[in-house]
């Protein structure tokens, strides 16, 4: 028999529903509400997820769709199960919303398996690790914060520093040089960017190996909160059932935290530090723990992390740090210098930047680059006061080479060709290492530093 409750209160996206005392649905059960739109006369459906049970047989549910048109006393159907989305090969090449409806204008998907959106993380004994570099073809990343195959990577940066562009470039490079399945979760970002990505993928022919899920800026917090989890359910299917390696992109994980914070406030929880939800750690932990590689297959994840007001001590940014294998930090100061990708060489790091894992050559070059840029940074105040000509000879050489290194960390992107007018470049790791080694050795001391900007390999500098 269908379990039906009644709406008792609607505050924004939070719907309070009263059920019979012996029929209170479980937390995380999906609710459905059907009602007739007064203006259009069409029957509308609203999906909500139970977040809280309160006194008086009332449950508080988070709506995934706008609640305009709902009224007290309306019937609410308890589906008796959590939210589920379709998974499988049939989903490849398609666009979904967070609750599994196709949004690309194509035919609906039928006869496929469904996975609950919220699932458990893999068991400890099933986890698998492989300390192998995932080559991105982006010099600054491959040299200074190499990504781990089957690992988690964060792309940190404030607004407008180029996180999404890097993710799109990596998707492009992955399609050309790696192959494999990739899943993209658009969490609370611009809808226009999602559209760009979809068109770009169709143009390059990558779309057939990709699934895209979007819960963007204009969507309700409930939608933004579960989109990453829905995408993850798709990835888990390919890892566990199809036994395939998956590339998993989230843009932007901060919006997941932000959505959680909005809901937490609406549910009346006492805010924690900086106004975030008191359950920030567990929410993030549950999501990140699911992004795991097992004996069946690897999930290599790349997550964009928006840093509010460029403050890396913000709890949302700080909590994300602790889950990652590699961290790539984008800096506004570098953006202001016109260097793209604006990767901060000193703040970026990787667990596998270790001579035993990446090799002595790679490690020593990366460390020498960091050391040189560190020294340059230390000298910047002195340069600002006295000028470069007053530095001792040794420091002057360091500064000159560091500036060339800094410029050489820039690179033209395939996905930005229409903006830069330059052909995108994929640079192999060995070419990257060789290039930086030659700059550090002073082989290009006579070459002006402008020549190093937006170049692929070092050979292009002298052309």
């Amino acid at each position: 028999m269908t379990n039906i409750g009644k709406i008792v209160q609607v505050i924004g996206p939070i719907i309070d529903v009263k059920f019979a005392p012996d029929q209170i649905p479980d937390i995380r059960n999906a609710l459905e509400i059907y009602f007739k739109d007064i203006k259009t006369g069409e029957t509308k459906k609203i999906i909500a997820e139970i977040a809280l049970q309160t006194e008086g047989n009332i449950v508080k549910a988070v709506s995934l769709l706008p609640t305009e048109g709902l009224a007290r006393g309306m019937d609410v159907i308890d589906t008796g199960k959590p939210l589920e989305i379709p998974v499988g090969r049939e989903c490849l090449g398609r666009l979904f919303n967070p609750w599994g409806e196709v949004i690309d204008g194509g035919a609906p998907i039928n006869g496929v398996e469904f996975y609950p959106v919220r699932r458990q993380a893999p068991k400890f004994e099933d986890l698998a690790f492989e300390d192998q570099i995932y080559e991105t073809g982006i010099k600054a990343i491959d040299l200074l914060s190499p990504y781990v195959k089957g690992g988690k990577t964060g792309l940190f940066g404030g607004a407008g520093v180029g996180k999404t562009v890097i993710i799109m470039e990596m998707i492009h490079n992955m399609a050309k040089h790696h192959g494999g399945i990739s899943i993209f979760a658009g969490v609370g970002e611009r809808t226009r960017e999602g559209n760009d990505l979809w068109l770009e993928m169709k143009e390059t022919g990558v779309i057939d190996k990709t699934i895209l899920l979007f819960g963007q800026m204009g969507d309700l917090p409930g939608s933004r909160l579960i989109v990453a989890q829905s995408a993850l359910a798709q990835a888990e299917y390919f890892r566990d059932v199809a036994k395939q390696d998956v590339l998993f992109f989230i843009d932007n994980i901060f919006r997941f935290v932000q959505a959680g914070s909005e809901i937490s406030t609406l549910l009346g929880r006492i805010p924690s530090a900086v106004g975030y939800q008191p359950t920030l750690d567990i929410e993030m932990g549950r999501l990140e723990e699911r992004i795991a590689s097992t004996k069946n297959g690897f999930i290599t994840s790349i997550q964009a992390v928006y840093v509010p007001a460029d403050d890396f001590t913000d709890p949302a940014a700080a909590i994300t740090f602790s889950h990652l294998d590699s961290v790539t930090v984008l800096s506004r100061k570098i953006v202001e210098m016109g260097i793209y990708p604006a990767i901060d060489p000193l703040a970026s790091s990787s667990r596998i930047l270790n001579p035993d894992l990446v090799g002595e050559d790679h490690y020593s070059t990366a460390m020498a680059v960091k050391k040189m840029i560190q020294r340059y940074t230390e000298l910047q105040d002195i340069i600002a006061i006295l000028g470069i000509s007053e530095l001792p000879e040794e420091d002057r050489i360091t500064v000159i080479r560091a500036r060339k290194v800094r410029n050489f960390l820039s690179q033209p992107f395939h996905v930005a060709e229409q903006f830069t007018g330059m052909q995108g470049k994929f640079v192999r790791i060995e070419d990257t290492i060789k290039g930086f080694q030659r700059i550090l050795q002073g082989e290009f001391d006579d070459v002006p530093e402008q020549n190093f900007l937006m170049k692929g390999t070092i050979d292009e500098v002298t052309k």
Binding site: G268, I270, P271, G275, I385, G387, S389, E390
Partner: protein
Amino acid sequence: MADLTHLKQRLSNITSVHEITEAMQIISTILIGRAQKLLLYRRKTQPYFERLILSIDPSTVNIHKAIKNEWVIIFFSEKGFVSSFNQQLLPLIIKHRNNPNIIVIGEKGKRYCERLKIPYKYFFHGATSVPKESIIEPIFQILKEEKFPWKTTIIMNTYSNMFKQKPSILELFPTTETDIYKPTQAITDIDQLILDELIIEKFVRDRLYYFFIQNYTGEIGSKLLVMKNAVDNSEKLKADIKRDIYIARQTAITQELSEVVSAYKVLQSREAK
């Protein structure tokens, strides 16, 4: 938002640099006053020495002109923080790099020559305070041993004013003969040739000293300008960092207050229920 501790540390460092540069600016101001006074006096006496050299017997001059060795004396700064004072001389020096008779004056010049692989025959320190006449003695002795070669080139910054030191190539001796030659009229027991030599020696001594004073004044002038700019830059940097500190502090205060207020409101609403 930048880290408050880091910003405070930066402010402290920049304040130290500011204090040092300000002190150096004051010292340079005092030194340049003395140097300019001396330079002004020597500038006034220079034309008399030039006239004196033109009064000696041409045959005496010809002895020195017959010496084929060309000598180059390059004046650099003795110390740093002089902006482009030394660097602007480099294009003038490059064409003399194959000359075996180069005399370098000033510690910085020694380093530049070593870096650019310009071989020099002699090196002497420049003046570290307002130069005394004895400073020219070692160079004078070298030139005397070489019989005062007429073709002796001086590369240095000529001092126009505190803001302008022009890189120049000068000659130790006058290059053009004029018709104002007049044999010495004074009645003396000294042989004319010896007298001519004495005049040349006096001329060289005075000319070298004049170059030293000019170089020193230029060096101090450059330093004064560098320090003035450094003081201005550090003041601007300090103001920027102070602004960042205020923003960071205000953000932290606002954050804390809003957390306290929101928690209070939540607790209050619960109590009301």
